[in-house]
Symmetry: C2
Subunit: 280 residues, 2 copies
Amino acid sequence: MQQNTDIRIGYLGPAGTYSEEAALLFSQQIIGASVRPFSDIHAVIRAVAEGQVERGVVPLENSLEGSVNITLDTLAHDVELFIVREIILPIRHSLFAKDSLATVKTIASHSQALAQCRRYLAQHYPNAAIRAVESTAAAAEMVANGLIDAAIASTRAGQLFGLRLLEQEIQDTYCNQTRFVALSRQPETAGATKMSLVCRIRGDKPGTLYDMLSEFAKRGVNLTRIESRPARTGLGEYIFFIDLDGTMSQPPVAEALRMVAANSLWLKNLGMYATNQPTR
Amino acid sequence: MQQNTDIRIGYLGPAGTYSEEAALLFSQQIIGASVRPFSDIHAVIRAVAEGQVERGVVPLENSLEGSVNITLDTLAHDVELFIVREIILPIRHSLFAKDSLATVKTIASHSQALAQCRRYLAQHYPNAAIRAVESTAAAAEMVANGLIDAAIASTRAGQLFGLRLLEQEIQDTYCNQTRFVALSRQPETAGATKMSLVCRIRGDKPGTLYDMLSEFAKRGVNLTRIESRPARTGLGEYIFFIDLDGTMSQPPVAEALRMVAANSLWLKNLGMYATNQPTR
């Protein structure tokens, strides 16, 4: 439990989204923290960089949809911020209406949530008109305002807008999780078990990637994720995002990173941080 | 030059998009080929799989925006198609109006094209209202219909809608290329110099990725790209898309692939194909 007051935590709004849930989960660890919504991921990150908020919680990766490129690219190219916490959130969708209904004729949600409940919808509501809107929370609000019969949203969104639960856990797959990170202007490494970095290695052939991976492999450093993104300098030229188990206080990690940095055009430490998941 | 007649080539429409340019470039190699637009990438791929068209041209990767995930995921999980050709297209944006104008008050284009010309627009049209629409071709059509003053689009779109060129090559960076692939129900390997595959390797730690890369590295097989995507089975579980220089007719490539396949839960050959780019 950190002893801070007046810590403002930005997140991708509006209230009732899964991003808000992640921000609230993070805020419970900080005394005197409050959360505030922003309209898009870029605005959250910029608000942290410019000091409008002290922390920002943004999605980094989803187990079905993959990386959130805007988050990766902004961290790599546009700001100097640190990841100070990883928050992994299971995504569980429920169906809500305003009151009990004879028939549900219209259903709204975010397009990803609709896609993730496609089988359920086809089975139980084959004749309903399905409408994609900008967020699960916006869909819940539309139901509260009588604009649509039912919404797919989180339990919290249903409560927030005083809706009636029709059915819970309607997603087609149970392995749906989103990985959020909390960002800050200063590093914060208490309890850190993981770290993230991004680098542009010299040479553009994945033979070079192989050489880089060998620096970790031969020291027994476990990488939990590697993701390539365009270097923005030409087709076939990439930067690599790396997550690993461990921190710079462990000599094998520090040595591997020194070697990788020596063979990189640039390497950026994105932070050492604690996670709400048990380390594998 | 292939001796085929009645080869229908699907692409992401409408006419005047960069996708159409790639499809037209591909069609020039096939006698009797015609191109037809589809409304989205998934529809193009499905049309090939279901036999409505013989080939489909879809974007796979852009040098600024990265992978086109819908293309990768559909090829990996949903269809059994082969890449039969790679088409790399430089993306060059121009500014078009209907007639000569005293002032340009409104400018429309696809959001990516707008982003890629941001510096130019800020410098030359700081007071214009900028509007994002569904495609560069749609923006050109809006100008032709008098709905907006100017559009950022390709030279072909400007010609197609009879527009007046205000300025050409207005993009902020000159390394903007998109890599398209042509898909078919049957493999077609004449002139092939590259191949693509997707696999789910056993074990989910990137130490396993390192082992896989070593199969290629120790045989001197040059990988031109590696891209991870969610395996859709849980956070931290990935499939890998691999592009390499060479084909199965070369023993080192065939051997490496046999080893990788033996250590994979599954491996899918996405095709051996010719490219319009010189091999690096």
